[in-house]
């Protein structure tokens, strides 16, 4: 069924394996990862609860011209403990919408491909949903 060959003066080993050959669970055990490795990249919410503004999921929203406004709005939203999450942050989100309007090409809602807004809103949703 499966077989092996050696090419290139024995340097390169080749194996042809069928689905069955690879079906059973692997015996390789990965090393345990540290709970919090400071050198690894992190998701949106850091283990200490703060927001990782460099998360690729934010698509550069925190870096652009509306960066500070976005941070204010999102931090408020993140810290909001009321029933309707973000209810008290309406003024911040208002300011954010106004800022977005100033840069339609960057934050325009229609164009999906490069839109950081969509990425950010989905990031916000994920942020809420991930257990802390």
């Amino acid at each position: 069924m499966s077989f092996c060959t050696k090419e290139g003066n024995g340097k390169d080993k080749i194996m042809f394996l069928t689905k069955d050959d690879l079906s059973s669970p692997s015996t390789i055990r990965h090393k345990e990862d540290e709970a919090f490795d400071p050198w690894e990249p992190h998701g949106l919410i850091l283990p200490n609860g703060s927001i990782n503004w460099d998360c690729p999921c934010l698509g550069g929203m925190a870096s652009g011209p509306c960066g500070l406004v976005f941070r204010r709005a999102y931090t408020c939203f993140h810290n909001s403990s009321s029933q309707m999450k973000g209810a008290e942050c309406m003024s911040d989100f208002d300011a954010l919408t106004k800022c977005f309007a100033k840069y339609p090409k960057l934050y325009g809602g229609k164009d999906k491909s490069n839109s950081p807004t969509d990425a950010a809103t989905s990031a916000l949703v994920d942020g809420i949903n991930t257990p802390k």
Partner: protein
């Protein structure tokens, strides 16, 4: 009113000038007059002076010597005084004449002013008359405004005085490519009000390079003209990382309360002085900085045979790298030209597939199409990464796309022949006794890049003699305030040793890391970057770590019918890196090998995993036509465990799965 005042002023100034012009020579002249009046011997002195000259030849007796000497001295002094007087007198006369002339000019100016004033007074009088028409009234107002503007000296405008490029940068980034972009994104993320100044030699704002050898060749003109391209999955993206709106105005960057990123295009840093932390541009402008990132990337290499090329040959040569190279080459290809690509690496192979595909499509539509050839000295495509057997198999797939691939070819000459075509000469190993020729209309050189380390000399930075590039530590630092990222960085990888990586994802990862460290972090290179390649729509792979084909390799290929998979790309144009294998959708078939090719035999390398080993540890992995499993590969490399059973290791990848 004002008129008389000014004339008075003018006359006073006039008088002062005359006075000044006279006082200088006046002094000695007056003194002389006084002296001459005091001494009755003026005329006597004059005559004696003549006498003195006449009598110098005759010797005087000793007796009358003393008195003679005294007289001599007096005569000398008076002679000098006469001389001085004459000179100053002449000077006085000259100055008087000059002043007369300028005072005349002044008088003209004053009278002209007076005339204007009279005119305005006249205009004022005219305005009082209510019987004027509106047009006339407006005309008069304009006249008065013009006059008012002329009267007042121009106010110094702050914006006029502000230079176009600032002379100070909080964060200076040298280079405007992928690493630079990733860095400034990261800097701004960690330092919310950072002011970043980017100096780029490109004509364009930061853009993505990978699509230039792949996606753009499959995109329609209407999208291309907007600098956009169509991805495999149909999604349209811009070549530019950000719309121009993202960038701040360079001129006012340092005044922005919330900071921003300003990009200077078309400028190069030619000198970096780290003693004073000053960067000098090619136009002489100097910028002092707090922190600096060098992200200068590399320049395409050429070949010896082209170094002595005539201008005619040079016009048929492309060193492919940027957006402009793409548009120029597209024109050539669409004109039906025969194109030869020299180089068997990633760029050369991808271009061979893309160009061959485009030529085929052009032909199908009845448009002009040429022959696409690829030449390389190696035995197969991407031979520096793929083990020989796989590299040869990949060549077969490039040939399937329609390109004529000639391997084991060493170019020995190039010239332009009679009919304007390019003739390339080489030695065919199968016919080594004679020189073989290939003719084409255009040549693309894709033989690698030379890292841009010109600044090393002026900055006193170390360059890696083996791999090239600036030598930096594991935290990408060259000096306390200088970092290097991207193609130009030779850095220390804690797991894999010192390396220099020329891939896109490495530019993203290293740029991000350098940016973060510039804002105060101290993180080493740890998250392993990846790379990928697509040899046309049918063959593609993702890879991670040290994938040197000279290393020992163990590969596991799927035996049985290959299944289809869809790859995803994230916002930065990278393959999305997930652990979960998504369900393949029937419509998005990307890498499907036609069954008719009869690949279901022993030499079917259609799907598999290649492990690269150093001392029985996996240091690199190539996922051959297997997608979205890069995270598993990364974990294996990170663990650095000794592996003996590769079947077990291969199980982790589930290569048969859809």
């Amino acid at each position: 009113m004002q008129t008389s005042h000014l004339t008075r002023l003018a006359s006073i100034q006039h008088f002062n000038l005359i006075k000044r012009s006279l006082t200088r020579p006046t002094g000695p002249v007056l003194r002389k007059l006084i002296a001459s009046e005091a001494s009755p011997t003026t005329n006597y002195v004059r005559s004696t002076c003549e006498f003195r000259f006449a009598s110098t030849t005759t010797s005087s007796s000793n007796d009358g010597q003393n008195s003679h000497d005294e007289e001599q001295k007096k005569k000398n002094i008076t002679n000098l005084m006469y001389l001085a007087g004459a000179v100053t007198g002449l000077g006085a006369i000259y100055t008087i004449f000059q002043n007369r002339k300028s005072s005349k000019e002044k008088q003209d100016a004053v009278s002209a002013y007076d005339a204007k004033q009279l005119k305005s007074q006249h205009a004022d009088d005219k305005l009082d008359a209510s019987k004027k028409t509106l047009v006339e009234k407006v005309g008069d107002l304009q006249d008065r405004k013009l006059l008012a503007e002329e009267e007042q000296p121009e106010e110094l405008n702050k914006t006029d005085l502000t230079p176009v490029i600032p002379s100070f940068a909080q964060y200076l980034i040298i280079g405007g490519g992928t690493a630079a972009l990733s860095a400034f994104k990261s800097i701004r993320a960690h330092d919310a009000t950072a002011k970043v100044l980017v100096i780029s030699s490109e004509k364009y704002y930061p853009y993505m390079r990978p699509p230039l050898s792949k996606d753009v060749w499959y995109t329609d003109d209407n999208l291309l003209n907007q600098h956009m391209f169509k991805q495999w999955n149909g999604q349209e993206k811009s070549l530019f990382f950000f719309d121009n709106e993202f960038y701040a105005d360079v001129k006012t960057l340092n005044d922005e309360e919330n900071g921003g990123v300003g990009v200077v295009l078309g400028r190069k840093v030619v000198n970096l002085d780290l003693k004073t932390s000053v960067a000098k541009l090619d136009n002489g402008w100097e910028i002092s900085f707090e922190k600096c990132l060098i992200a200068t990337g590399g320049q395409p290499k050429s070949l010896k045979v082209f170094q002595t090329a005539s201008n005619r040959l040079k016009s048929k040569l492309t060193l492919y790298r940027g957006i402009d190279d793409f548009f120029a080459l597209k024109k050539v290809v669409d004109s039906g030209a025969d194109v030869t690509i020299i180089g068997g690496g990633f760029l050369g192979s991808e271009l061979a597939c893309s160009l061959a595909h485009r030529a085929t499509e052009n032909d199908k539509r009845g448009n002009p199409s040429g022959k696409i050839t690829q030449l390389m000295p190696e035995t197969g495509n991407i031979s520096k990464v793929l083990p020989e057997y796989l590299s040869k198999w990949a060549t077969g797939r490039v040939r399937d796309e329609g390109a004529n691939v000639l391997t084991n070819v060493e170019l020995i000459g190039a010239s332009v022949v009679q009919d304007g075509k390019v003739s390339l000469s080489y030695i065919d190993p199968q016919n080594p006794k004679k020189t073989s020729y290939i003719t084409c209309d255009h040549v693309v050189v894709a033989v690698g890049i030379e890292p841009n380390t010109d600044l090393a000399k002026s900055a006193g930075l170390e360059v890696d003699p083996d791999q090239g590039g600036f030598l930096v530590n594991a935290e990408l630092q060259a000096r306390h305030n200088v970092w290097v990222a991207g193609d130009a960085a030779s850095f220390y990888d804690i797991n894999l040793g010192r390396r220099r990586v020329e891939h896109y994802d490495h530019a993203i990862v290293s740029g991000k890391l350098a940016g973060e460290n510039m804002t105060g972090a101290h993180k080493p290179y740890w998250h392993q970057s990846t790379f990928w390649s697509d040899l046309g729509p049918k063959v593609g792979f993702e890879a991670i770590g040290l994938t040197d084909s000279q290393l020992q390799t163990v590969a596991v290929y799927a035996k049985g019918k290959p299944t289809d998979e869809e790859q995803k790309r994230d916002s930065e144009g990278n393959r999305e890196q997930q652990d979960v294998v998504p369900e393949a959708t029937a419509n998005d078939l990307k890498h499907k090998l036609p069954e008719s090719k009869g690949n279901l035999d022993k030499d079917d390398y259609s799907k598999g995993v290649v492990f690269y080993l150093k001392e029985n540890k996996v240091v690199g992995i190539v996922l051959w036509n297997v997608f979205n499993r890069i995270a598993i590969a990364r974990k294996i490399i990170k663990d650095q465990q000794e592996i003996t059973n590769f079947q077990e290791l291969a199980k982790l990848f589930n290569i048969h799965q859809d």
